[in-house]
Point group: C2
Chain length 302, copies 2
Amino acid sequence: MSLLVVGSVARDTIRTPHGEVQDALGGAAVYFSLAAHNFTDVRLVGVVGDDFDAGDIELLKSRGVDLAGLQVIEGGRTFRWSGEYSEDMNSRETLSVELNVFEHFEPVLPDGYGDSSFVFLANASPATQLSVLEQVESPLCVMADTMDLWIDIARDELVELLGRIDGISLNDAEALQLTGRKNLIDAGQAILDMGPATVIVKKGEHGAVLFTAGAVVALPAYPTGEVVDPTGAGDSFAGALMGSLAQAGAVDEERLKTAIAYGSVVASFTCEGFGTARLAELGEDEVKDRFLKYCESLRICR
Amino acid sequence: MSLLVVGSVARDTIRTPHGEVQDALGGAAVYFSLAAHNFTDVRLVGVVGDDFDAGDIELLKSRGVDLAGLQVIEGGRTFRWSGEYSEDMNSRETLSVELNVFEHFEPVLPDGYGDSSFVFLANASPATQLSVLEQVESPLCVMADTMDLWIDIARDELVELLGRIDGISLNDAEALQLTGRKNLIDAGQAILDMGPATVIVKKGEHGAVLFTAGAVVALPAYPTGEVVDPTGAGDSFAGALMGSLAQAGAVDEERLKTAIAYGSVVASFTCEGFGTARLAELGEDEVKDRFLKYCESLRICR
């Protein structure tokens, strides 16, 4: 089924203990799309300046990403982010952010996108995310991401959004911040009470926890020793998750578990290269192989 | 098969955001035994002073714990520990430690214990742990725990121990400290290279990772929102793990996964009460029910 993502397209400069890349293709919607294309075609809505690389446009198109919704602002400059990871890569410092054309991004869905069945509202202001909701007709499943900034400065709009969408994926610190709880399981359940039928709390190298009305399921990350750059892991996770759900064409606990498993597997590949490098070259067979290995490792004989 | 644990027996004073207990039954060997008794009878070797509570002796005996190896030092005072947990319970501060009779603990296995098939060397100096190895004849599986202190001050003896045992369970910070690695998966594999066929890295609320020659398997903790006191969770985990293996009578990857699952489940119960309170009243049925729920939650339909 059709999958739409609305979010940032960026150029990232990333430093980790394993090396550095400058002005590399990045942004939530890009990681999302490159992960999701392993499951279904993706419609991307975002904005870039006219400095955006033609080669990157071609790369995305070659991966089945529909760019009809990518606005190119003449004379504008693409969103730029620069960050550096700590020695153990469990924390990172943002060195600079230039919002540029993303600062006044007003997503406009091109003709024919209003019928999208699966919609992912990548991290943006809740007001921007709500404006997309107005443009989709009767989606089967809308999920969103958010960040600490919006919990701080746009809590009311975020709460309104939560009341109108089907699912939210956010990280553990954000879940605690949003709810004021100290225990993550408590926090996940408190977010369910705010509206969405599905809450997915991402814990980085420790995996993710799924909350639905009927279940709380913790699933581990795929264990990899080759982490060279965690940038985009969360967005790749979301891309594979939504891609898997769109491919299945329905959302229930079993399909959500499968989708989280795919999310964990694809995120592990993302971490094994700088920026989108590993993700962009990923083949469906390696995804499937690692997925089967992951599922098998979780099968416990009684 | 027979299961022996050698380690501390203590009186703990614990403060958490949920309350406080004073001079409650505690110690690694106690948590271990109360967890393991759900699977098999346990032989406990430890030391207490004559201030130790007769009621606690009865409690342990009633749970199938053989106390022939519990030394009672006349005029001695039992090991006491006092600690306070942070608001989110992810860290704790030790307020006081009185080693008392545990300071010069020299484990002596009573007659008939030398044939123990499964042996757990709970946290103690590597020299003390090695002295137990000399007293067991041909155990099927010896596992040990350790702590940051011994990695700091007794590294050589710890490395010697690792070369002579079958498995080690330690927490994530200790695994990184022991190996100097920054990535946990790297660290676990580096510990395998030090000798033991099995390495289990405990990550508290994030579960555990199993390392063997053939596999790296990450398993989540059982998600519980009712954490009132995490004291003893790691030792309960080890107790259920070794109890499950001793019940199975063999060690291989499948049995280790099952054992870790039981460890996670029993540890989750431990956290739901203060000290040993919840663990001591635990019934085999509730353990089995939660175990089945845990396994089912990890079963991913493809």
